[in-house]
């Protein structure tokens, strides 16, 4: 059983050493990855039907060449792009926030170090160690979380871009 409990214990120790900000980052990470999985699932399961429906709606029209037709196509594309983009902007904002949160943890950790220094002087390096780990761990976690979010974002943007272009090409205007 120990090999199951061991990683959890490590995570708990990490959360305790990093202080409040690392715990906040954990919550942010859960939200971020929930949003990322929601988008990934959406692109995998829902997007094909949406694209097909839009395509069908266009194909059902008899008029493919007038000014009206062009405007209707623009409307269809705009609606699709809005649905495809979904929470990607929010994901981007959260990814941009992670290093800021890490920095916040660094500064609060430094404050902790200075509080210890004010109480015990500079002689006690061990007492300061808790503050130092509270200063460094959030920075690292924030960076790792931001990096982990960067690839999905670029991937999603690419998917949205590609699908919209393809859809636009497939909705033939004469």
């Amino acid at each position: 059983m120990d090999f199951i409990a061991e990683p959890f214990r490590n995570v708990r120790d990490f959360l305790e050493a990093g202080g409040l900000i690392v715990q906040v980052l954990l919550v942010v990470a859960l939200i971020l990855w929930a949003m990322i999985f929601e988008r990934a699932l959406y692109y995998w399961r829902v997007m094909p039907t949406l694209i097909a429906n839009t395509q069908d709606a266009w194909s059902a029209r008899t008029d493919h060449s007038s000014w009206y037709a062009k405007k209707v196509k623009e409307k269809l594309l705009a609606e699709t792009s809005r649905q495809l983009a979904g929470s990607v902007t929010l994901i981007k904002a959260v990814v941009a926030l992670c290093p800021l949160l890490g920095l916040l943890g660094t500064v609060t950790g430094m404050i902790q170090v200075f509080e210890v220094m004010a109480a015990l002087g500079t002689g006690n390096a061990r007492a300061m160690a808790a503050g130092v780990s509270a200063a460094t761990l959030p920075t690292m976690s924030g960076m790792v979380l931001a990096l982990s979010g960067l690839y999905p974002i670029s991937r999603f943007e690419h998917i949205v871009d590609r699908e919209l272009r393809r859809l636009g090409d497939h909705m033939i205007t004469h």
């Binding site: 008029d63 000014w67 009206y68 037709a69 405007k71 209707v72 196509k73 623009e74 409307k75 269809l76 594309l77 705009a78 609606e79 809005r82 902007t89 929010l90 981007k92 904002a93 959260v94 941009a96 926030l97 800021l100 949160l101 920095l103 916040l104 500064v107 609060t108 430094m110 404050i111 200075f114 509080e115 220094m117 004010a118 109480a119 002087g121 500079t122």
Partner: protein
């Protein structure tokens, strides 16, 4: 002495009387009288002198008698002095002898009394700082006296020293409740039951107490630890026996004392100084603005989606309705003019939807910058203090450093929600603008086609 002066005066008076009698006016018979008188007086004088002479002689004998007496007395005293001096010397010798005898007999005991004094001093300082002294306040005086006294300690004192050390030791391991004086944070003294865990922690009425060594009373901490620790204190007081979860300060009060010194949230916010207040004011402004914009955008969005379902009758209370009304007012216009008019109408609607977003973005960017400003001013304060007082006292520098760090924290705490709020509101307003820019024409087109069909 005065008697002699009067006698001499008498003589002078007699001579004056003689001179008066020899005046030429005196008679023959009276001269003879004077002669007789003079003779008589001389005889009397002689008599008197003789008497005096005898007196003197008598006196002389008496004086020599006295002198002899004094000389005898002196001799006797001299004799006594010699005897006493001899006795003193003898005593002195005996004393030295006895002292050396005493020293020889005391031997290692002298060392032991030194140890007793030292132990009493150590115990006095332990007792001075010990929480247990709140229960037994009169122990320190005895120990101090024993530590400072020059006299040899008596058996009673030795036994009492043993008892006090043993009592301190035993009490350290006990959890007891006793009636004692508690000083509340506002300075009032009350008598109430106090529960003491060894010499580590004391609680009363669910509050942690701090020991004041000078007055030997317990003071309620002005800042109590987190509520989960305070609740264990209540459990402890309520329990009579068995095992209870309780919080102990293993440093005998230093941790609790540091707790009082650590700044609370408000104090931490105040450490930021002027820059901190500016940041907080801006953050408040930004949040209020974001909330206001959220409600505005929600209302507009709701109206637009309602309008979408009811395209035939565009209302003037929402942007989409206003754009659609460009078409419904004049349905027979050609497509190019319609497009131009639509673009114009859409452009008019965009600014109100984007209002406040750039301000939020600027606030998000300004937060960390202001934090940096606070950091730099804090560091300047620190270096000025170093210039004045040197680096010896870290506490002097702590003010500047805490300002530096606090403003950074405040700047970040301001920037993080601003970034999120901006992203959220921007995506919301972007969706609405997209509806106007790209979908309004399509909606009109669909509507026109339906009308034509």
């Amino acid at each position: 002495m005065s008697a002699r002066i009067i006698r001499r005066f008498g003589l002078v008076a007699t001579v004056a009387a003689l001179a008066a009698a020899s005046a030429p006016a005196s008679a023959q018979g009276s001269l003879q009288d004077l002669l007789n008188q003079t003779r008589n007086v001389r005889a009397q004088e002689e008599q008197l002198n003789k008497q005096r002479e005898q007196e003197f002689l008598r006196d002389r004998n008496k004086q020599s008698q006295r002198l002899a007496d004094a000389k005898r007395a002196q001799a006797a005293e001299q004799q006594r002095s010699n005897t006493l001096s001899a006795q003193f010397d003898a005593n002195e010798k005996k004393l030295t002898e006895l002292q050396s005898q005493l020293d020889a007999k005391a031997g290692t005991l002298g060392e032991m009394f030194g140890v007793v004094r030292q132990v009493a001093g150590d115990a006095a300082s332990t007792v001075h700082n010990s929480l247990i002294s709140a229960q037994f306040p009169d122990r320190e005086e005895f120990l101090q006296n024993l530590a400072q006294s020059k006299a040899l300690p008596s058996i009673d004192e030795l036994e009492k020293l043993w008892f006090e050390i043993q009592r301190e030791m035993t009490e350290t391991g006990r959890i007891v409740t006793f009636e004692g004086t508690v000083v509340t944070p506002d300075g009032a003294e009350t008598q109430q039951p106090i529960t003491r865990i060894g010499s580590f922690t004391a609680v009363s009425d669910g509050q942690f107490l701090n020991f004041l060594p000078e007055s030997k009373v317990l003071a309620e901490l002005s800042k109590q630890p987190a509520s989960r620790y305070v609740s264990t204190a209540k459990d402890l007081e309520a329990a009579d026996s068995g095992y209870v979860n309780a919080t102990i300060d293993p440093t005998r009060g230093s941790l609790l004392a540091v707790l009082v010194q650590t700044p609370g949230l408000v104090e931490k916010a105040q450490q930021g100084g002027v820059v901190g207040y500016v940041i907080m004011a801006l953050a408040l402004m930004g949040i209020l603005m974001a909330i206001f914009r959220f409600f505005v955008l929600s209302a507009v969005g709701a109206k637009i989606s309602r309008q979408k379902k009811n395209i035939d009758t565009p209302s003037e209370d929402n942007p989409l309705g206003r754009v659609l009304s460009v078409y419904t007012k004049d349905t027979n216009v050609d497509t190019e003019t319609l497009e131009l008019r639509l673009d114009e109408a859409v452009l008019r609607e965009i600014p109100p939807l984007e209002r406040g977003l750039s301000a939020l973005k600027i606030l998000a960017a300004v937060g960390p910058l202001l934090g940096l400003l606070g950091t730099v001013t804090g560091m300047i304060i620190t270096f000025q203090q170093i210039q004045l007082f040197g680096t010896g006292d870290p506490k002097l520098m702590a003010g500047g450093i805490s300002q530096a760090l606090t403003t950074t924290v405040q700047g970040l705490v301001m920037a993080i929600p601003m970034v999120l709020l901006h992203a959220f509101l921007a995506s919301r307003s972007k969706a609405l603008i997209q509806v106007l820019e790209e979908e309004s024409a399509g909606i009109i087109a669909e509507h026109a086609e339906k009308a034509r069909a």
